[in-house]
Every structure is written in C-alpha cells, then in structure tokens.
Amino acid sequence: MTYEFLQHYWCFVVALLGALLVFLLFVQGANSVARTLGQTEEGRRLVYNSTGRKWEFTFTTLVTFGGAFFASYPLFYSTSFGGAYWLWMIILFTFVLQAVSYEFQNKIGNLLGPRTFQFFLTLNGIVGPLLLGGAVATFFEGSNFIVEKNNLIDATAMTPVISHWANASHGLDALLNPWVLVFGFAVVFLARTLGILYVMNNVNDEDIRSRGSVRLVGAAVPFVILFVAYLVHLLLKDGYAYNDDGFIYMEPYKYLHNFIDMWYLTIVLLIGVALVLFGIGKTIVSKEYVGGIWPAGIGTVLTVLALLLCSAWNHTAYYPSTAQLQSSLTMVNSCSSEFTLRTMFYVSLLVPFVLAYIVYAWRAIDSKKIDREEIRTDHAY
C-alpha cells in the first residue's frame, strides 16, 4: 500500500461521505416544502415527524464527513473552515436551529410558538443545501485563499497562520460567483426533490402522496435545468491541474479530460443520472408508485461520488485558489502523513459494520410507515 494509494483511497472515502450527505439532505429538502406539502397542521406534523426520525443521520454524516476530511486532509480543513468561516458558520448555525426546532416546536411552554420553529426548519431546509452546494462548487470554481506554509516558522510573517482568506468576506465572496449559486440552487432543488420522494414513501397518507406527485415537478424541473447547466459549464471550463512536481497550472477542458481518462467514473455518473431520472419520472407518471426515493437516492450518491472524484483524482487540484494559483490544494500537498493515513485505513475497515447498524436502525424506525394515527397517539414532535 503506497502513499499514493492511501491518498486516492481517502479521497474516495471522503467523496463517498460527501455523496451520502447530499442524499441525506432530503431531510432539509422535505422540511423546506413541509408547509405546502402538509397544508393542514396535522399534515405538516406528519412531514416533520417523518423527517424528524432521520435528521440525526444527516447531521452525523455531516460531522463524519467533516471529521474524515479533517483527518485525511487537514490543510483543507484549516484553510476552508478557518478561512471561509462565515460560510461554514452559517451552515452549522442553521443545523443547530434545526436540531432545536424539532424538539421544541410543539411543546407546552414554548415561548416562540410552533410557527417560529417551523420557520427555522424551513430556513435550514433552504440555506443548508444552498451553502453546502456552494461549498462543493468551490471545489471546481476556486476560492480566495492564500497558503503560506512557511508562516509557522517565519518570524517576520504577519501572522503565524498557514492559510488565510485573501479578503474580508471570509467565505461569503463565493456566493458572488454565479456558477456557485447555480450549483447551490441545483442542490437545493435536488434536496427538495429527494425530500418529496422520501415523504411520499415514508408517510402513509393519500393526501400528502398525491400532492407530492404534483409538487415533484416544481422541484425536479429546476433541478434538472440547473444541474445540466452546471455540468455543461464544468465540461467546458478550464481546470486546475498539477504535474508530478506539484506545480499547479490551468488546463483547458480539464474536467472533460478527467471524465474521458477516468471513463469508469463517467459510467458511474451516467448510471447515477439515469437512476435519478427514473425515480423522478416514474413517480410523476405512475399513480401508485411511491418507491422513487430508492433509485433517486442511489443515483444521487453515484452521481455526486463521480463528480467529487473528478475534482480530486487524475492530478486535479480539488481546492483551487483564485487568489494565488500555487496556493491551490491538491491530494498530494494537503494530506496527512503516510503513517496517519495508513492507521486510519485500518480503522476505516470498520465502516461496513457502522453502515450495517445504521441500516438496522433505519429499518427498525421505519418498520411501520408514519400516519395520522401515530401522530395523535404515539410519541411525536
């Protein structure tokens, strides 16, 4: 097992976690449409309770994703979370609001009223995916940071900080790049699509299911348009490549070359896209089909996995710097030591067991689909 293999392996693990996270954003997506999907107070509670059983999965995957990234590529963690901290702070803040909102919205003695907390859930439902999508887009579009590893030992340096943001916006300037917004909103509408599909599957209510089928079009169409637009932009744009000496340079059509060189990823991407379209299409067309979340979810994971790997494998700088080209982070110049990666590799072999008990827990929670009866009589949000 060479250092090079370990770097590729950890890229794969982090990309997989990122892909799972995007799938699990269905919680956010469902929350963002809960008011219109639910119509009545009871209907809304059905939706919130349905997502309420799963929100911890999303949150823990987000944390695990961050943790794995930190452990394997610490320079990314420090640069991005330390530099673009407004972006990440807002994301985390909305997630905190989400956690609190679930529990408090319908409890007696609630000062702010259920409406406020439902607003927070909706806020998290839109802002969370938007900013997370925006953060992912910066993998391709680049961000404004400068890395100066010598700062730590250089006595004359301004600050002993290795990486800093090149301007005062601390991450929010990413939102000024229209393509970052395109991708961000694509993720918002994807989360919504997955959310609706999830609720249709998980909630055993005629009303909500039929309304979901209609709402789906309003979420899926913008998603497809925005996603295709971004994909075309990605294939045509110049990318950040590095050579064997670690020198970073711009390469026209870099991502197109990546998809051609790593053709197995292209196949995975195509299968993923086909599955997503199938899940959405069949749900819209068929009156009884409610299983759309499964093909769409698996398809989402495959597609995002292929996209993220295309940003880092094949000599691509995965966290490019628009402020200073040579500051860009690559798989090679930002990773942990070989010892760390190797040790963690052995630990990562336990992940299948973790996944197994997550699946077990999921099935146990979902053994009976949620309906109005349960809201009234059982423990509920």
């Binding site: 998809f259 051609i260 060189d261 053709w263 196949i267």
Partner: protein, 551 residues
C-alpha cells in the same frame, strides 16, 4: 479523424459521417422488425391454412396488423440515405458508379414492386381471394422485403470488399465487369445471411415480448401462448444461425478487412495462436495508445479462439494494428506490404490518373495514354492510400468497434440461452422440459408449484418483464452490429480505394449541421408518434372473429 491539411471545412467530414450514421440507425429501427415479423405472420397464417380455425386467422391478422404499422413507419426512411449520397458524398456516389445504380434499380423493380403488390392482397384480400393465394401473398410480402435487403447488402458488401469492377479514368466511375461477381460475392452472401437472421431474432423477441405482456395482463391467453411458441422457435433457430453466419462473416472480414478485425478485438500486436478477447480495460471514450501498448490491459481471452474464428485454424495468423501498419509476413509466406509502401503505390495511382487526364485533354497518342492507364490499373487496389498523410488515420476508432462487438456477441449468446429456455418451458418436449423446469426450480428461478407443469401462463411476473426488457437490448445488439461494420471500415468509404476526406462533398459544415439537427428533431418526433401508434394497437389487442379487413 479529420485531415486538417485539406482545404475543405474540417467539420464537414465528421458532421457528414454523423448525419449518415443518424439516418442509417433510424432506418435500421424499422427494417429488422419488418423482416422478422414477416416470418412470424407467415407461420401464423400457415397454421390457419392447415387448421382452418378462426383462432389462427385472428392471430395471423393481429401480427399482420403490427407488421403493417411498422411497415408504414419505415416507409421512405431509406430514401434519405440515397439523398445523402448525392448531396454529402458526391465524389463517392459518382466514383461507385454502377454498383449502387444497378442493384438499387433491380431492388426497386423486382423486390419493392413484389412487396407492395402482395402486401395489398394481404391486407385487402381476406375474403376476396382464395385462402391459398392469400397465404402465398403473405409469404411473398416477406420474400419481397428480404430480396430488397439482398440488394442493399450487396451494395454495402461492395463498399467493404470491392470486386467485379474496373475503374474507368475517362468517366471517373467504377464500371461493373461481372454482375454475378458483385451480386454473389461471398462477402455479400455471408453479410446477407447474418443480417437477415439477426432481423429474425428481433421478430422473435418482439413477438415473445408482446405475448408476455398479454400474459401479464391475463388477456388473449391462447394467442399469447401459441405466439410465444412460434416466436421462441423462430428466435432460437435465428440466433443459432446468426452465430454461425457471424462466424463466417468474421472470417470474410479477417481476409478483406484485417484492420477492422484488429480494431474489433483491440488487437494491437497479433501473431499466431491468438486468443479471442472476452473483455479488456479499453477506455470507451478515447483511442488507445496501440503503438506503445503490448495489448489491452486486464485482457481476459479465450485461447486460440480468435485464430480459429478468423482462419478456421487454431494456429492461424491474425495481424494486429501495428502489424498491419508496419507490414507483416504470414507463416505460409504471404507478404503484406507496409502502409508506407501502400501509400507510395496509392500516390503513383493518383499521379497516373492526373497524368492520364492531362494527356487525354492535350490529345496525346495511344501509347502514352495506355502506359498511364496500365500504371493506374496496377496500383488501383491501393488508390485510396495516396490520400493518407498520417498513418494513424488508417486505424478506426477502436473503442466503438471493441465494445459494440462485445455487446452484439454477448447479447447474441444471451438470446440463444433465452430462446432455448423459453422453448423448453413452452413446448412439451419429453423428459427435457421436465428436467429444465426442475432445474430452474432448484435454482429458485421458478416456483416449486410450476416445476412439474407445462403452463407458461403461470410463470412469475419477472419472467414476462425480462422478455419485455430484452426488446430494447435486441435493438441495441442489432445496431451495434452495424456500428462495427461501418466504424470498422473507417477511414474508407470504399475499402482501400477512397477515404472519407476524398469522398465527401465540399460543403460548408454549417449546412451539414443544420440538416443533422433537422433530422434529429424531425425523426425523434416521428418516432415518438409512430411508437405510440404501435403501442396503442398492442394495447387494443387482436380483433376477434372479424370478417372485414381492419387495416
């Protein structure tokens, strides 16, 4: 792919090729079903003729109705290809001269005339002509369609292996020297057999799939069961024959177009005792580095099978891409010149042609003219090489050839298995049917309750869905075969004689792009309309006991 040293628009060649590919693929969506259903409807009506039962009359009429819909859908799709020859490939269409003219004329007069006459009797004549004459008309409709196919395939076969013609430098056309040599060339015969049997596979799958759908919906049970029997039997015979004729066709390709065979196999460096590749790690999107790679990475091959397939001898010599480029000597002493030598000879031929025409215009004497003509005739077989500036132009796009060949053969094997199993399930073959059912039940593919019966109406639903799912796969296999045939012949429009950049019309690429997009939109729309008509007729089902024609 494009020769940028030409003064013609660089995009013209690729867009003209893409347009022809699009229209040909579209045409080939309808032809196989016409040829295949012709067999099925003929058999169904023969059963009616023998048994005189109304059931068989209704069944035959149903499949004839679907035949009619598909036939109408396919009308004139081939004519576009004819137009394209005249507009986009004008040098080529002049150069091939008699070859396309004569066979197509015969096709029009004999085959199409036969087809359209008898199809009218088939649809209109149910109560007006005798049962025997009607049956004959049904079969003759199919025969007409098949004869049509013969002539087109003769023309295509000539592109792959030009025989029976002599080039006339005065008229700049290839003139036919022997009609028999062109029409009955072994390449044409094996191509015809393979193409037609593959079309019968499509007919078989279509019938089995439609019948399976009826069994799923628990409608028209008797018709579905009997049709499955016919479809499966035709499909089984057809797929086995397609495999056998495919083997023969591959041998012809090995002889006449060794580069196509090398590309199909991603065989960069050949030799004796070559194995047949099952799969290999060939990037589907870009041309592999055949010069520097020994063989395709992660290659899994069947030992000796390629030598056997190409030469009928397990120790036979099969040249790879690099061998063909650099020249090779086979073990039995035959020397194949290198591409450089061929390019020299091609240049000589073109120079002789130019000199001949120049001399003719200036009124030179017999002797000079004959000298030029003999140099030209001597080097004519390599005429096309004179246009080659870069050897890599001679290597077709290996990924398409490689993967499409695997798709076609792989699916072909699946079909043999599929039809075989259905025949065993549908027909009461003593002992073997029972063994098959017990075996399938043991593996879990059939419920225990069905293991001892013969009833195909009570199979698990996924069996029927599988049959339906095989329809698009059958079309994919069929089109893949054509992709191999045509992509493998690149860069030649006529093997060794005329490359694409010499054959194409000097049009601006923008006009080709416009027609391409026009076709794409037009044909997609028409295809959607036509498929919905077909599906609606299937949904309606057969009209039972009708006496008037229902077309």
């Amino acid at each position: 792919m494009t020769n940028l040293l030409l003064n013609i628009d660089a995009g013209t060649i690729d867009w003209s090729r893409a347009q022809f590919a699009l229209t040909a693929i579209y045409h080939w969506l309808f032809v196989p079903l016409t040829l295949g259903l012709a067999v099925i409807m003929g058999i169904a009506e023969t059963c009616y003729y023998r048994t005189k039962k109304q059931f068989w009359k209704d069944t035959a009429k149903f499949w004839q109705k679907l035949f009619g819909v598909n036939f109408a859908m396919g009308v004139a799709t081939g004519i576009i290809l004819e137009f394209e020859f005249g507009t986009n490939w004008s040098n080529y269409s002049w150069f091939v001269g008699d070859i396309f003219g004569a066979p197509l004329a015969v096709e029009g007069i004999v085959a199409f005339f036969m087809e359209s006459t008898f199809v009218a009797v088939m649809f209109f004549g149910w109560n007006k002509v005798s049962r025997g004459f009607h049956l004959a008309s049904t079969w003759l409709t199919g025969l007409g369609a098949t004869i049509s196919a013969w002539w087109i395939l003769v023309a295509n076969a000539w592109m792959q292996c030009p025989v029976g013609c002599e080039f006339n430098p005065d008229t700049m056309r290839n003139e036919m020297v022997s009609f028999a040599e062109v029409a009955l060339s072994p390449f044409a015969v094996s191509k015809f057999c393979h193409t037609v049997t593959s079309a019968w596979i499509i007919g078989g799958i279509f019938v089995v799939a439609v019948s399976s759908w009826y069994l799923l919906k628990k409608r028209e049970t008797k018709m579905a069961v009997e049709s499955i029997k016919i479809g499966a039997l035709v499909g089984l015979v057809a797929s086995v024959l397609a495999a056998a004729t495919g083997h023969k066709a591959a041998q012809d390709v090995g002889e006449a177009q060794p580069m196509k065979l090398a590309a199909m196999e991603a065989l960069y460096n050949g030799g004796t005792d070559q194995g047949l590749t099952a799969v290999a790690w060939v990037n589907p999107f870009c041309q592999p580095d055949y010069e520097n790679l020994d063989e395709a990475p992660l290659r899994m091959a069947m030992p000796y099978a390629l030598s056997f397939m190409a030469t009928n001898d397990i120790h036979g010599y099969v040249p790879g891409v690099n061998d063909i480029l650099n020249g090779y000597t086979t073990p039995d002493g035959r020397v194949e010149p290198s591409v450089d030598e061929k390019i020299e000879r091609g240049k000589k031929a073109i120079e002789a042609l130019a000199a001949y025409r120049q001399a003719k215009a200036e009124g030179a004497d017999e002797a000079t003219l004959n000298a030029q003509r003999s140099t030209l005739n001597e080097n004519m077989p390599y005429f096309g090489y004179g246009y080659v500036k870069d050897k890599s132009e001679l290597v077709p796009f290996i990924p398409v050839n490689f993967w499409c060949f695997r798709i076609m053969v792989g699916l072909g094997c699946v079909f043999i298995l599929f039809f075989g199993v259905i025949c065993l399930l549908a027909f009461k073959i003593p002992l073997i049917s029972v063994i098959t059912r017990r075996l399938l039940a043991a593996i879990g593919l059939l419920p225990e309750t069905e293991a001892d019966g013969y009833d195909i109406t009570r199979l698990p639903a996924w069996h029927y869905w599988l049959a339906i799912a095989l329809v698009p796969l059958a079309y994919i296999a069929s089109e893949s075969g054509w992709l191999v045939a045509e992509f493998g012949r690149q860069p030649w429009t006529i093997q060794d004689m005329l490359p694409t950049w010499a054959a194409v019309s000097d049009l601006h690429s923008s006009s080709v792009i416009i027609t391409f997009l026009l076709f794409l939109v037009l044909f997609t729309t028409m295809l959607a309309v036509e498929i919905s008509i077909l599906l609606k007729q299937i949904q309606k089902g057969p009209d039972v006991g009708a006496t008037l024609n229902e077309k």
